[in-house]
Symmetry: C2
Subunit: 194 residues, 2 copies
DNA sequence: AGTGAATGTTAATCTAGTTTAACATCATTT
DNA sequence: AAATGATGTTAAACTAGATTAACATTCACT
């Protein structure tokens, strides 16, 4: 059970005693999924929030035309879940699927509640990371309506250079909200421009 | 000092004792702004999160072309601030301006920190409301790339029928990420369709 | 009541990004 | 090495929404 990356991550926000760490670990589980497996499917109740130890997932939504829209990718040291489903324990709107073999630390709904009761510092920890997630979600909304597709792609490439290498281009197009054909055009334009 | 709407709102999430309420109130201030006044300007450090008692604000971003993009409206029982600036105490990205005379309960950064220390239930409260804000921000991203402008307008009208009455149409267009001319076209189409 | 500013409408022209469809490349399995 | 499926490219035709510009309406103030 390798909780080290999670503990290091938490230590950026709050500091836990040895006893608290032991209690925390006792409430968590580690689970591995194979490439292609679903962690959550649209309509499920999302029972866990996962912290990625290794691998990569995509969170996406299939619209009424059957089109897939990718909301986020999660790699090492990121979180993955359908937060809406998790917090209200109602059917999920999103799918979460593994793009690689993926190892996760699982925080179940019940474990989270117990952890908040027992260790208020963890409530602070989650408040802090959700605040950050909220802010970056808002920033993305702004980018959506103030940047062109090309500018958004450049921003993505800039901000997540490592993710771009690991993920097929048509999924990046879906994340950016454009077609794979248009992303291909943008990339060939960028090559000409250099 | 009329904190009643705030206390009622908080009671939906956590229950406070009379002593806790007294302490909370001692850390808060109420401030009124006139229509047109700025609560936060791009570049300021956002010192407060405001809870709207009455009135209405818009949170917007001015892009490099000078175009204004409205991220949210806040009316009674909603929150208003530049959350990114507030949590990191760095210069704001957004402007917050009053669309009506507006009365706010102000939570300063320092007050918030003291409140979290003194009353862990308030840390829970903020965690819960930020979780909700994060989820609705994600839902908006999905709508942005899976709905047409017309569908997005109908969704807005459905979800915020009262807000639509109070706000000029060109600001609603800005919120939806379309031009006022196109929103006008959509509305005349909808009238024909009936 | 009349004037100017703010808000809203209409229509023509334009463009960023979509759709469709055919083809190219790459990786995996047999 | 051939075959299959997954991924990526190119180009032509199309469309949702932007831009521009002229005009209409409503509001707020003297």
């Amino acid at each position: 059970m390798n909780f080290a990356p999670l503990l290091k991550y938490i230590a950026n926000y709050v500091s836990l005693t040895a006893t608290e760490i032991a209690f925390l670990e006792s409430k968590l589980t580690i689970r591995t999924y194979l490439k292609g497996q679903y962690i959550v499917q649209q309509g499920d109740i999302c029972k866990n929030v996962g912290f990625v130890l290794s691998g990569c997932t995509k969170t996406f939504y299939v619209d009424k035309e059957g089109q897939e829209h990718i909301l986020m990718f999660s790699v090492e040291d990121w979180w993955t879940s359908d937060m809406g489903s998790f917090i209200t324990q109602t059917p999920a709107y999103f799918n979460v699927q593994c793009l690689e073999n993926t190892e996760l630390v699982m925080f179940s709904y019940e474990a989270n509640e117990e952890l908040y009761e027992a260790i208020p510092k963890l409530e602070r920890f989650f408040r802090l990371i959700i605040q950050k997630a909220f802010v970056s979600s808002q920033e993305r909304i702004v980018r959506n309506f103030s940047l062109s597709a090309k500018e958004q792609y450049l921003h993505f490439r800039d901000q997540y250079p490592l993710i771009e290498q690991r993920i097929p281009q048509y999924m990046i197009a879906s994340y950016l909200g454009i077609t794979k054909e248009f992303l291909s055009k943008i990339k060939s334009q960028l090559i000409l421009e250099q």
